[in-house]
Amino acid sequence: MKVAWFTPLSTHSAVAEYSTHVALALAEHCQIDLWVGDDDRHRSTPLRTFEFHDEPALLHRLAQYDLAVYNIGNYDAFHGAIYEASKWRPGIVILHDRSCHHLFAAHWLGAGEARRYLDRMEALYGHAGRERARAAIEDRQPPIWESDEEALRYPLVEEALVGALGAAVHSGDHAGDLRDRWFGPVGELFLPSYRTAPHNAPARGGDDRTTLLTLGHVNRNKQIDRVLRLLDRDRELAARVRYLVVGPGLEAAYGQELVRYTQEAGLHGVSFLGYQSDEVVDRLLAESDVCVNLRFPPLEGSSASLLRQLEIGKAVLAFDVGGFSEVPDGAIVKVQPGDDDALELALRSLVEDANRRDSVGAAAAAYAGPLTAERYAEAFLDLAETVDSWAPVVRTVDRVADELTLLGARGQLPAVELAGRELETFFGQIDAKPLQRGLGPGDRPALGRFLRRNDVPEVTGHFHPFPMTEVTAEEIALRPGADRYYGAFIEGRLVALSMLRGWNEGFDVPSFGIVVDAAWHGRGIGSMLTDFTLERVPWLGSERVRLTVYKSNDRAYRMYADRGFSEVERAPIERAGERDERIVMVKELT
């Protein structure tokens, strides 16, 4: 598979950092090129890059790819060009932020397209949306993006998904929100940790104060003022900590406000360090005791800095919202937003109790450790299969929507409702059961991964007609001959494989075989695919089918007997040092 991965590559972009790690992991499975949408100073990467912001004509080359992936975040300079590129070819949109209002407002207003901004606000949020945007443009009210609450009320994420085949986000909460707004497949992936920071190595230098650390762009969403007020109120606690605020943004009003407050309150343990390089951030992170990661309302899908803090075993203090809520209790300290007493109690406990910090940090590392970029890559490929399986549905709905738009239809018209209702009938139930179908050349990658996944004794103990390898996958998908292979798919993922073999070798009676993904045993998929496959046999020119089963596989034997297979041969054998019996069964299908 050839993938075009659209991303910023700026050293100032968290999405760029994510992309360089994830794309490298994906490169183990497919050919992946980075399509770079910003002209900032770039991170280094061994992958091939195309800087299309300089040369939009390059986008014609997208036709050569099997999949396009667009990373969209809430910043025009990094993501505006990527949004424009996404209109060239439908693909998967990875949404890094819950609101993209700032991205689109800046993108359109910066290009002098105020009317487009107003039209889209009306199309998505009705008359009220249009009027609110107009008030901002005419300076009668502040810009929407300056208020987190309003940015979430008018997130414009729907715009990022126009024409998309699928979406990916990094928390269940975010996925749920998106599913309410968009009909296509939404994948819920975990944000990986990158292991770029050294592990816990506090260098106290004789200072026995507890080090608190807040990382990232300094803005009101990070609730730093709340921590300062808490320390101001509880001077005894303030004396026991040093609080480092690391990140750009101090020059803005909120940053200035924080610095002023700190000076006026005489909070000598608080330091604002501004932007720091990755190396310095890593060192400070290693030296810290508690990471204060309070964000409200949650604007990001998840937080890369949170994952980094968890992975290296830091105790993290966060609000119980968004992606933070999904970190297991015990691996993070969560408090309800707005409950200042609970926040103070939690912070005090973490400052005073080193053992608690250690136990929370250990649980955090255990949770985040397995969330590697490699695992992320595999989960992403599963999502790509799901998206591929939904593509005809999404394209149909989009096509209908395009036609209605051309006709000037608005969402409230009966015709739009009628078309929507009909499409619901077409597609409403289609994922209630696995899709069953013949395998073709396009299934080779999925089949290869299926065989590799199931090359485990639990499966191969009973099923061994061929090696569970990529070579076998290629043979089956590309050169099946007269033999037939069928698959059961759930959300686009191959979960069972059945076969009718023997015709290639000249036999009149085919041999039936089936293997169900080890992770999907016990859900009736094997029975369903068995029935499906046997129903095809008469259509393939045979009136009889045979199979081989081991006596030790009693469950399978009973399933076949229930389906009318009769035993015609039984021979003792030894398998893996155990005595067993090889049973041949036959079923007449006339």
Partner: protein, 345 residues
Amino acid sequence: MKVAVLTVQVPFVRGGAELLADWLTENLREHGHEVELVRLPFRWNPPRAVLDHMLAARLTRVRPADRVIATKFPAYVVPHENKVVWLLHQFRPVYELWGTPHQGLEDGHEAARVREAVMAVDNAYLPEAKAIYTNSRVTSTRLRNFNGLDSKILYPPLRDPASFRCESYGDYVFFPSRITSSKRQELLVQALAHTRSGVRAVIAGAGDLPEHVDSLRDLIDREGLGERIELIPAWISEERKLELYANALAVVYPPLDEDSYGYVTMESFYARKPVLTCTDSGGTLELVEDQVTGRVVAPSPVAFAEALDELAEEPALAERLGERARRRLDELDVSWETVVETLTS
């Protein structure tokens, strides 16, 4: 009564279903109804085109009609409060042909999604009809098995059955049909190579694809049967067809799991000719009964050859079976009067 006959049309393709829609329209008019024949365009490749056609059909309205008679997928999903369905067959690629070489849709997620959507639509909208009739027991059985829906059989008559005649039981068997793999013309060729009687064959019909005809011609050459088989790879005139029926020893029609008895069968019976078919031919078996109205044999060249020799060596047997076949039609009450009355009542 204002009647809208709804069917579908793959542009520039005509077959039995298109003829039936024409004949139904004519006969409804002859019975005094005001009739519009509405042909919805249809194609199934790429598979996603099926989704477009289903939606288009569902959004189509024929309200001025007092009665809608729909015959094919997806015409029968057009909504109407007074709709009857006379089902010739469902969208076979997603039902009995799915997962077989006859599927006709490229394997992949797209076709699988389309399949599920078609079944969802059939399940949701076929029950809207006041009544569902089918053209055969096979179609009714499939509808019951795949969709759990009951239906009644209403056999389609020929346009002009009186034109068929019998003049003799000659020295050839006649195989009139589209030349395509599912009709199995090659089975007759292979069987002739095994016969001892020297019986001849006339194979007539347009090829679905040029390669079907080429492949059949190659087979005839390979078997050295050029002298005994007359291959006419085109639609023949009605007059020529009637003549070939009239003087044939018997008619050969062994399709693979046909969904109806097939016009060929009925035409043969009107011409008093027995039909040679196979145990796996599906709908033909509703009319063809072994040693009563024809021969039903295993789909193998050897079994087929034996049946051909038997008829060639004893033309009186062909005549006896042919006469019985003609009487069988009277028993079935297949007529346009019955069809029109059933579909408009």
